[in-house]
Symmetry: D2
Subunit: 307 residues, 4 copies
């Protein structure tokens, strides 16, 4: 958090059918419904999140990600970073407070990979769901399904990962925690963090811009990954791969799809990062192991991404 | 244990190179070397096993299983079961005590699927490795690799599973714990147990006789399955599938290959069985889920078996 | 299962207030209510149990155990064991089928420690709760609280443990899996099993007869023991000790009390036993470690038992 | 990390006998010996730590803590914080680079609770032990004992916790993540973090200054806490309490003592904190539950601290 960017605070995903989507995100994944707005968007959160929401679902004709927003320390940080973005030649747009219900003004901009990013500093805080912050119990008893604890990060595909990594590093003060490089040293993937987490957002080089690979949610343990896998099977949910471990970050993971085709991840564990750590580097010839540590090869589906 | 058959007491596997095999079974899987004999065979055991050995490795030109042996309550049981086998039209052969080092006489016979089975009642007992049975610690501190606790079962492919199931049930007093049946009710797979374990030996219908699918070893937890998967990757061991869960028995599992091409399983958990339980039945159209509960489809490798 | 005794099939406990008891056994421990009878008794089971019930609660003025019943292979076994008990000088009483709803006739007798035991062979089978035995899912989604899987064993206090161990061994064909002996070799505790489990019933030498130390229920993992401990705290349930590990059996455990004062255990893991295994022996001077492996000393409460 | 303080980078503990201490910290806890210096001090680290060392052991007549040092982003941060400390009336002392082997200059000062704190920005980086940062494996195969991953935090006792919390908040930019308050609102305990961790250093109000309660090291899972507990028993190490969970931070924990009497903790899990989170507050009347979530009462030993 060198320049006041704290964490990925929300992601807006497009879903084809809201009822189906809510069955998936609420009943299966265990997200908490927080609110709805007049546009029909539904606001969700993981139970450990203090802010009112972290996942916004919007009904649309195509699945994918509308934007990912990063929460900053305060409004002054927003002003400063907005000016720095403009100075770096990045156009910014201010979205008025209230456009997302309970959220203050947001500064939007597009990163070189083509994805829409936002910065915001103010959001209604409703506290950890079911436990609060006064003598809190260890966990609430009435969680559903996978008991996802929080929106954790997203993995995005698009062109010019190095320029995106540079922008997030130089202007937003994020760190490159892990990367994949080809034999010529070109950066094919960059995993960026604003905190101790192994990644708050990650990028993989891809010719088409603005693609979503997956939105990821955190679980407490490898045991929870097993139960998530079981639930995927019990509910006839489309699985991608897992349970397994990633090489990159070493998180314990499973990939699956929501009814609209958005890929989700739930994972546990994973390495930690501090700003004085050199990035962990994976060589492209080890990409299979870097992505899927046990199988040591990519499946074809891994290369499929959404607009 | 209706008729005195207690458990699968040993399996003899053929390996192409003994040094490579020992690196695999001892350094990677954590089996304990117990002895060697003048034929060059090496005797191993899991640390929780009280008997001297449960896995015998024999160097040969082809991988696969020579035989699997079941330990019975006492010598009188052996005599009785031997007579019953003959009465059922099954030829038996007596192998003298000492042929396997530390093991008493064995009665060998062939089941309809073409596999060589043995019964024995006497084997040297060396106690749980590293802990003994007087004020025993929870586990020994110097276990290696996957820390396999015991030889658990094997899965065999061959023709006429129903006749094999019937023989093991009627003559040996084992139970059918789980089965797969086709739409006409034909038994395609039978999982047999002599105890509370979900399977002590299992069979899948296959045109060629006497095939080995895998030899399986027990781990304590799903966490140990993860670490086994990690070790498979660290040692560049050939993986088949996992970590995942089976539908049949619900065990948590990973499949991989020894350097000779014998498939191994390590697994944790799994259902229990008592003699008054109806067998659990899986319909053939659910075979994918029955075998690999999360992926819900077989991989092609699953169908590969060894002579 | 040398003589047809399979497992502890039910235990009847006395509770002071049935509503409070059900909140405890159903909402907290996750047992399933199966039936009630005209005497006001409530029948419960763990979700993995195939039989209709394993725990019977009876409202009374004093907590404690009325009896523990062992399920046998068939009615002929009951007749044979009944005759053997009488031949051994143990009076038996036959209780008519239907006295326990859905249960066949029972043969009752008193063991030297003063506890009432029963044998039965017939009980209505309702199958694993929520999953059945045709293409069964890994677990049912709507389990409550601790998700206890089955009634596992009970620990009983009373005089003359050696005579009780001898009776269960000689007449019922059970095995002594573990024991505690004093410096003179006198058996102070005996852990008996009819199967692979480390104990199906256990005894500790105590001057007063017919005391209950605890009734124990099985959980799947050490993680579940943690969550059980959390739930004990969240519900202000009286805790005894844990989470910890036992030395005897090496199970991972927590002890707590039902609202009537009956001690419960939930536990995971634990060693396995086969009839050819020598009993594991703990020396009395290691009793602290034998009971509570981590603390290596008994708490005073451990010595408290119920009529 | 509002003002450039990243993490607790090292702690120096006094031990009565270095050989005994190394058996404890290396063989039992699994710390890695990194170096020794001419004063006889021994430098250790957890395997995931990138810096050369995090634990310094010094042989002395009394156990306890000499100092805890925080690593900052860069030397400029050190200069700025040093000036701010002086401006806040806190005397600082500069210790030359090399006093701790491989460590740059350190700025030392005393906090109101009487403990010696240090700030430093430069330390030799030797990388994650056994895995490095180029295509790193998930974990090194030759870790010992508890496999402690890192020095995590310490808990300190002394007078005037509120003034200490204020100093760390205002001058060092740390956050109050959790606290205990009495009915009058007086802060009896403060848990401070510079990152996402629930605590990097914690304080409990106590009349005598400069006391050490414990130094804490991180484990990966609750399963590792069980194995740590087992190892404590196997090695006849003095246990304090656990395995259990804390209410404060909800970490899963066990306390024990090194051979000199310094209390250690190993723990897993625990909540996360961001700078926009209100502190979690525990009421003093819930102190038992706040400290030991399962037992809900303090043991007497918890109150024992070292000079």
């Amino acid at each position: 958090m060198k320049k006041g960017v704290m964490r990925p605070g929300h992601i807006q995903l497009r879903v084809l059918d809201m009822d189906e989507a809510l069955k998936h995100y609420v009943d299966l994944m265990g997200m908490i419904e927080a609110d709805r707005d007049t546009q029909g968007r539904v606001y969700l959160k993981g139970w450990t999140e203090v802010d009112k929401f972290s996942l916004v679902l919007r009904e649309a004709d195509q699945p994918g990600m509308d934007f990912v927003g990063f929460k900053c320390l305060d409004e002054a940080t927003i002003d400063r970073l907005s000016a720095e973005l403009q100075a770096a030649g990045v156009a910014t747009e201010e979205i008025a407070a209230g456009d997302l219900k309970g959220c203050g003004r947001r500064i939007a901009f597009t990163v070189p990979t083509g994805h829409r990013f936002e910065l915001f500093a103010t959001k209604e805080q409703t506290g950890k769901w079911g436990v609060g912050n006064r003598n809190p119990e260890a966990w609430p008893r009435d969680l559903k399904g996978m008991k996802a604890t929080r929106f954790d990060h997203c993995l995005l595909y698009g062109p010019d990962v190095p320029a995106t990594v540079k922008l997030l590093t130089d202007v937003l003060g994020m760190d490159l925690a892990e990367q994949v490089v080809d034999p010529e040293g070109k950066q094919l993937a960059g995993f960026m963090t604003a905190s101790m987490k192994a990644h708050d957002v990650a990028f993989i080089e891809h010719p088409e811009p603005a693609k979503l690979h997956h939105a990821s949610f955190f679980l407490e343990t490898w045991n929870d990954v097993l139960k998530a896998a079981d639930l995927i099977s019990m509910t006839d949910t489309s699985i991608d791969i897992g349970p397994t471990r990633h090489g990159l970050t070493h998180g314990q993971t499973i990939y699956f799809f929501d009814p609209s085709g958005n890929r989700n991840e739930v994972f546990a564990g994973g390495d930690y990062h501090y700003p004085d750590h050199e990035p962990v580097t994976w060589d492209a010839e080890q990409l299979g192991k870097a992505i899927f540590y046990h199988d040591r090869q990519l499946n074809e589906r891994f290369l499929t991404v959404l607009t």
